[in-house]
Symmetry: none
Subunit: 219 residues, 2 copies
DNA sequence: TTCGGACTTAACGATTTTTTAACTGTTGCA
DNA sequence: TGCAACAGTTAAAAAATCGTTAAGTCCGAA
């Protein structure tokens, strides 16, 4: 069985774009274009995760979220809001409405995908037990041996990327594109420095170099 | 591991549409919008099947197909042409170029999918479980007797080439062209050295020398 | 504004990978 | 047998790549 994701946005183009990428990753995807429909679909579809646009005509995302939260069948369902910048102050309302994450618009698909993976991985094993290193996106912390480790943004993003798919090799290009974005240009050694800091913090053995290819995370 | 399909068409809409359906069926999909790019992508992606549009600006499908056929690494790769009616006479040229199937345009997605499944005989696992040596491109690992063996880039590429078609002999020229590329020039003994390292790692018997001809992999 | 952490760069060192080159076997055949 | 063509082996050089360190810059919080 794969994870079910309910995608809610009033723009069909966005639905299609995100949907395409989610399906590609093996998720089962449902969608709705307004709040009322979203609540109804959620009750039927019982998604593991709802990606919920905040700004929608009629019922907005927060309201829809609150209504979903009233449904006990959706108790374990995660909700992530899709929101434009400048609405930062509304995050408070979002978390009050029961948000598990916030994903900024305009959507960078790679960011979205890695967050989705992170969220659902968390849901799979709420305590994160069984893995040597645990990542908590919501709290933006990394835990190892019960110790919380502070981690700046870039380091966190990098670890998150590798950690999401243990064993998979990420090329430097993939890492740049995912952590820095395609338009930013940084020097060759930048990744190495961040890798070094990660190794200092979570231990040498978890991050493996494959020379000429890339890096990967191993438990 | 799933089958890899390379999709080549100059219309992004068609790419997206077919891609969506293929991915939904669990295939790994790569794409290109022109012949030259297709040949390059194929060399890297090593698809099991190429869906190739005939009518493209610049290099057409037949030409691209011929160029792919020159790459020994793509020997086992299937090619299906996507072609409009009225071009029936051109089928001759297509099969001469090395086509395995013809799929008529306009594309009916169900027809396409069933042909693709038929070509790839779905259900057969391309990952090669049960083989003495298993290769995982994603993890960049080689497994033998449950042991993971580290392997540098060139060695890995070389083994990957031979391993893809057990029993088939690859000439030195083919190996150079595939692993090093046509423009790089290296000395005669370079291959031998890499072969030796591979033999050290996966065992003598798996790589067989055919004097005056080339090398092959055997399980 | 000042401070400190985050991020990046650049220089250099270290390591691993890849190639070369010299030498050694092997095979087939005149 | 002895030659010629080809492949195997080895060590070491060369190249590529990565790691480390010590700055410098930037930016936000106090």
């Amino acid at each position: 069985m794969s994870y079910r994701i309910l995608l809610v946005d009033d723009e069909p183009d966005i639905i299609e774009f995100i949907s395409y990428n989610l399906i590609k990753e093996g998720f089962e995807v449902g969608h709705a274009t307004n709040g009322a429909d979203a609540v109804a679909k959620a009750a039927q579809f019982l998604p593991h995760l709802v990606l919920l646009d905040v700004m929608m005509p009629g019922m907005d995302g927060y309201r829809a979220c609150r209504l979903m939260r009233e449904n006990p069948a959706l108790d374990q369902t995660l909700v992530a809001f899709l929101t434009a910048r400048g609405e930062d102050e509304s995050q408070i309302e979002g978390f009050e409405a029961g948000a598990d994450d916030y994903i900024p618009k305009p959507i960078k698909i790679k960011v979205l995908m890695s967050r989705v993976r992170a969220l659902l991985k968390r849901g799979e094993d709420p305590s994160g037990e069984g893995r040597a290193v645990q990542i908590d996106r919501t709290r933006h912390t990394v835990a190892k041996d019960g110790q919380e480790i502070a981690m700046p943004r870039k380091e966190f993003n990098l670890l998150e990327l590798l950690h999401a798919q243990p064993g998979r090799v990420f090329s430097r290009e993939e890492i740049f594109s995912s952590v820095w974005g395609d338009d930013v240009v940084v020097g060759d050694r930048t990744i190495d420095v961040h890798i070094r800091k990660l190794r200092e913090k979570i231990g040498e053995r978890h991050i493996v170099t494959i020379k000429g290819v890339g890096y990967k995370y191993e438990d």
